[in-house]
Symmetry: C2
Subunit: 407 residues, 2 copies
């Protein structure tokens, strides 16, 4: 389950450098002035989300301190985590909102973005326990942080059990906090008397539906991901690509791109046609985004990705890339890969061999072709959307960054 | 962390037999007719909560099936869990609602009760992972269930890791479902034009505040509980009782009794004075309830509690009972207990010795005295509340069942 997680959590990726187009030619019909405006507005938004998270967590820290000074350790663990990251989901939400006519920097979309970031943080905390990851965003992962606390204080019994238990609870708390922030969004929306059509759901209800669906689908996708790790080797290799595409769609594509974008649009009272257009753009973009992540997870430069080479192979990720390999490599090559996936002690020679198999089987090429195809669909859908110029440019730039990255 | 969990999850405790007074003399100013009315109304409510849970999970099952037939396993795991239990928190919420003038069997309080039950189920799922519990409500715990699925299907890699990972995700899903249901409660409340005082928070906002506080405090309490297991032996024994009382208050007393009761009252538009009165009753009642649980966790009959004798000792629960022992036993006795707590391989002879120490140190007596004192406070607070007769009788009966139980 490194997918959406690693994609949004690589250390050394400064949040301000992610989505603002760094050169004019990256914007479709862009100009340097437009790119600057986008960059400034995004920076303001990201800063406002960070402030919102910080003041929210300050309040929680006080509540936890009132329970016991010891309980503040939970808040401290979350504060460390939410100060980093690319804010990818918050930004998708923001431009979805702006594209639907929402005002720049409005409280409602700042709070919704903060809720999405807390949800992502909660997913990361539990994901790192599930994947036994030691680090996150260049820091110890949350459960390792609690293990460290156990060490420092010379506590008794099992440090590992304590770290894991505390990590489970910290993730649960973070999930609750995300919900708490999200439930306050409706109250921050401006009154839209006259816009509201009787019998139609209100914007906050539409956004709530997206939020609910997002959570259920991403957890289902994560479950399918861990299931495929253990069940994949016993299932028909001819179905491996389809299974991997289902996982990718729910665990990552919808969650990272489509849902936050549609959610932002819904909050701003976007029309059903606009929200459908957002989905038509966001889903293939998310699919291309995750496929890029899968390729980087095997072929990425550890210097750039911040993850050990071949980490996804050791974890046994059965990605689309692997699916293509199992169905198109020679029998001997397929068997070689199938038997080695998921073994934490894979040698660097094994990893080199698997990389060579991925290349010579045509799996890498097929994956790149799929990325191109999703990319084309996404951009066609974006072109077809009648968006304000700034939002169109910003989404275009975000999309390029998501798919054409090397980390 | 067996506290609130075991208290509400012992197998063999039929939900219908929990709270309806079984004999007239149990009701304060009761009569057989009143008890019958309470029993019938509670049964109707419990059945409505079960229906609500069932139809909600049916919808989720369909959504998960649309993702993948494999994802339905997540819904199945939850369905098993939420069909059991005493519905203690839902009942507290219900009588809080009724006591504040809410209508019998109203949709809003049925949905709020279902949300509380799902929250409890989520806590149980993660708690069983943390405590490595194999069973829950007479069935395999959720993570063990997924381990079993791994066995049955002859999947590969580590069955234990898979079970735990799937259990973490199932608990997260259940936590999200709880929030989803709770967020729909406001829309089910009857319009109260005229009752609403301008500038004062609306009932759903008050209830939301309670729900948010409840989640944060119970997770903080659970964290303090696992912390005390590892840190307790390194800390001043003179503070052990105070630390245990803090854990008990947040992890159990407020969560199991005070918060659900106040939440129900808030939803029905109860006055601040009524809600304060509920808290004054619910908190000491919850404290007595959990102390009773702690005593049963060491001295309870396995036949009745459904848990192995001395299970809390093997898990290393540092309860108030243990706190009294550490601060009042002889040095040799205190050391004996301190060194053995939390060791899973405690012999039955060790357990007998610890029981004897708990008795001869006066710790058991002190704990029973504390139960009596909380019990008196709770009942004085209940007497002071001006409640409709039926609600007063029902809360009285619930309170007796909670504190005077043997399982």
């Amino acid at each position: 389950m490194t997918g959406p997680i690693a994609a949004s959590g690589g250390p050394g990726a400064p949040s301000s450098g992610v989505a603002a187009p760094s050169s004019p030619e990256r914007a479709p019909e862009g100009n340097a002035g437009g790119a600057e405006n986008i960059g400034r507005e995004q920076e303001d938004y990201i800063a406002a989300v960070a402030d919102r998270l910080s003041s929210f967590l300050d309040g929680k820290r006080a509540l936890l301190a009132a329970v016991s000074p010891d309980a503040v350790q939970l808040a401290a663990a979350l504060e460390h985590l939410v100060t980093g990251g690319k804010r990818l989901r918050a930004l998708m939400c923001y431009w979805g909102w702006r594209g639907a006519g929402g005002a720049a920097g409005a409280d409602a979309v700042v709070t919704a973005g903060a809720a999405l970031e807390l949800f992502q943080a909660a997913a990361l905390i539990h994901d790192d326990i599930i994947d036994r990851s030691d680090t996150r965003r260049g820091q110890p992962s949350v459960h390792r942080r609690f293990e460290g606390l156990h060490d420092t204080n010379n506590w008794t019994l099992d440090r590992h059990r304590f770290g894991e238990a505390a990590g489970i609870l910290a993730g649960d708390l973070c999930l609750s906090f995300s919900e708490e922030l999200f439930s306050s969004v409706g109250g921050l929306l401006p009154e839209r008397a006259g816009i509201q059509v009787p019998g139609e759901p209100r914007p906050e209800q539409l956004a709530r539906n997206v939020f609910n669906t997002m959570r259920t689908e991403v957890m289902a996708g994560q479950y399918l991901d861990i299931l495929e790790e253990v069940a994949g080797p016993t299932r028909d290799p001819a179905g491996a690509v389809d299974r991997a595409r289902t996982i990718l769609r729910y665990k990552s594509a919808k969650y990272s791109m489509e849902h936050p974008l549609v959610l932002g649009g819904a909050l701003a009272g976007g029309s059903p046609a606009l929200l459908q257009g957002y989905a038509a753009f966001g889903l293939p973009l998310g699919e291309a985004f995750q496929l890029r992540d899968d390729v980087l997870g095997v072929f990425g430069d550890p210097e750039t990705t911040g993850k050990p080479a071949g980490d996804d192979l050791r974890e046994g990720k059965r990605t689309v890339l692997i699916g293509y390999t199992l169905s198109s490599a020679t029998a001997a090559d397929a068997l070689f890969v199938d038997r080695r996936l998921g073994h934490p002690d894979l040698s660097s020679q094994d990893i080199d061999t698997i990389r060579a198999i991925l290349a010579r089987s045509g799996a890498l090429k097929a994956t790149e072709a799929l990325i191109d195809s999703y990319w084309s669909s996404a951009f066609a859908a974006l072109e077809a959307l009648a968006l304000p110029e700034l939002a169109a440019q910003a989404l275009h730039a975000l999309a390029i960054t998501a798919v054409r990255r090397s980390a």
